[in-house]
């Protein structure tokens, strides 16, 4: 659980910066930030499960 929280904090902080820096309008920044946040979480979880099944 702690690892997931840390991953969520990381995704949130990176999403804030990426969103603001990459887009111009506030709406675009918000949408892009949310997208980056979701991508970090989903990719992190998928990679976590793939690594879980690896025998080495």
């Amino acid at each position: 659980m702690r690892h997931f929280l840390v991953m969520t904090a990381f995704a949130g902080l990176a999403a804030v910066v990426f969103g603001i820096v990459a887009k111009d309008s506030k709406r675009e920044q918000f949408v892009y930030g949310l997208k980056v946040f979701a991508e970090f979480l989903v990719i992190g979880l998928v990679l976590g499960w793939i690594l879980y099944f690896l025998p080495f």
Partner: protein, 144 residues
Amino acid sequence: MIFLEVDLSQEDNEHSHETAPAKAWLMGAAGWFVPGLGHMLQGRWGRALLLGGAVWVCFLLGFYMGGHLFQYDGSLLRLPPMIGNLGTGLLYIVPWYLGYGFTDDVQRAALPTFEFGWTFLIVAGLLNYLSMLDAFDIAAGRKS
């Protein structure tokens, strides 16, 4: 058939002579030195709070989780993370001056979040590089 003749060489020259004003370099340097300051000096309070805040929180969380900063000690492998850490400006310089936060002591290394910690510290610096470039672009008039 109509052919349009465009003198691209002149257009290229105009772009190549475009230089950023001194103010932009100053804002970029301020943004690097204290995360958020580059935007604050331009009256961009919202951006300063969010960008600077993200960097500060990332850095403080890194230390809280037991992370340590990197410095070059002759090993090339330590150079890339040090460049990442250096992005936080004053937040790196002060601990370096005080000699705090650079050692892997056993208690901190035993924490389950130890590796997250130094990752957060590096990422704080990398995020501040982006924030610094944003402050530079705004001051140079390349961004609204």
